[in-house]
Symmetry: C2
Subunit: 247 residues, 2 copies
DNA sequence: CAGTGGTCTAGACCACGCG
DNA sequence: GCGTGGTCTAGACCACTGT
């Protein structure tokens, strides 16, 4: 028996959680003010805020400075599908997705050079994407492509942006190989504000590196998603019989 | 310019972080007591503890009740390799890994039934695994196998345990297909204490479902890793040429 | 026992959003 | 301006680890 230490803020979090999951407090609804809640539960505001922090970490509550605490819309978890994009990654919410793109040309630096395996200072096209599903932001992406492989001309024209937005979801010219690395971490302050999540809410980071048949890296994408909003799915089919990678 | 909000605990976290990363405080070393630090930085203990919480969330500091705050060993990030295990998942630390296994028979319930696609109450072999790399715990796994596919006889005998421990890392009888779902989330209280991480430190959860050629699910594994200790890698090779799924 | 972290309080002050 | 959340304080008390 693992001795569960009764902690007041956990109890309160549990209570509020059940009120949310049972629907007694509706999604989108505002909770009573922290002062009111602290009063109701007979605790100090600090303790009450700790309870809310728990729920925020679980993605149940969104705090908005100056306005209040709001119950988040139910987690319709969206799937990011790994591999080379045979399935549309955004199937579930495809229609409701709005993607904004900003593109520039940068020079390779730091770990970008190792990621893309290019020399320092090498020109890269950078696409910064943010996708929103309705109100709430739902994914960030920074995609880097060697400049000579990117569309010529103005990177900010319509077609380039469209391509980037598409790339965010699907790898259109199927590369020879894709290597994806997934990690769970806390968001950077930038990411936290861009995704409208708390500093404590975990994010799912995916680094995707695509290679062509010659082994050249044709794209590196750094994707970030709120942990409570998206899962990443990777399927490995064993083909018919003869194929078995390595050995 | 995004107005940086000066917050004392962040400043302190920054200061301590730099002292750690520059090696002024060595890995494994104990920090001064919270009271001392609070005194040194001229803040209240609460504020100082918030600073430490930040570092704990980043995996830089490990708190041990009654003993102190310790600098964690550097993050040698370990790779979990997706797919059906052609590469050893624990390459990096294989030698140093110690795995403990506890096995029982349970009846399918809740979402286990949907995961394994078996009726409620269906007998399952459950293997609870914990892997330790030296001192620090480094991964948890709960593996479920339909009872009739599991080794007959005592589940707790040596061979069964060995098999489970192996399964934790590699899928030995290569299944026809493997589907892995990765998510970033906060740890449950159990997981937090088992992994010796804070409630705020994100974990990487991987749900692995393996299917045989007939489409039957032969294994479901729920894996949990500290987010700062392991990344998951998924590689998709595009085979030779003829194969291109979907248009 | 002394020393450590863990939780909580009551109240202060600041920063944001909105009328 | 008012009501909201965000940060901080000084001090209390409890729980765990060692001797």
């Amino acid at each position: 028996m693992t001795g569960t230490v009764p902690s007041r803020h956990q109890d309160i979090a549990d209570d509020l959680r059940s009120q949310i999951t049972t629907g007694r407090i509706q999604p989108g609804e505002r909770l009573p003010s922290e002062a009111d809640l602290a009063d109701r539960y007979k605790v100090s505001t600090v303790t009450l805020r700790r309870a809310l922090a728990v729920l925020q970490g679980e993605g149940l509550v969104e705090k908005i400075h100056g306005k209040g605490n709001f119950v988040r819309r139910p987690h319709r978890k969206i799937m990011y599908v790994g591999g080379w994009g045979t399935l549309d990654p955004w199937t579930a919410a495809e229609a409701a997705l709005r993607v904004t793109v900003r593109s520039t040309t940068v020079q390779a630096y730091g770990h970008l050079t190792t990621l893309l395996n290019v020399p320092v200072g090498s020109p890269l096209a950078e696409f910064s994407c943010a996708s929103h599903a309705g109100e709430s932001p739902h994914g960030l992406a920074r995609i880097y492509i060697p400049r000579d492989l990117a569309p010529v001309g103005d990177l900010d024209d319509a077609s380039s942006c469209w391509e980037a937005a598409t790339r965010f979801a699907v790898l259109s010219p199927a590369p020879a190989a894709v290597r994806e690395t997934a990690c769970a971490r806390a968001p950077t302050p930038d990411e936290a504000s861009a995704l409208r999540i708390g500093h404590a809410a975990p994010v799912l980071g995916i680094t995707r590196v695509a290679t062509d048949v010659t082994g050249r890296i044709v794209e590196a994408a750094l994707l970030v998603f709120p942990g409570d909003r998206v899962d990443a799915v990777f399927a490995t089919h064993h083909m018919t019989q003869e194929r078995q990678i390595q050995a």
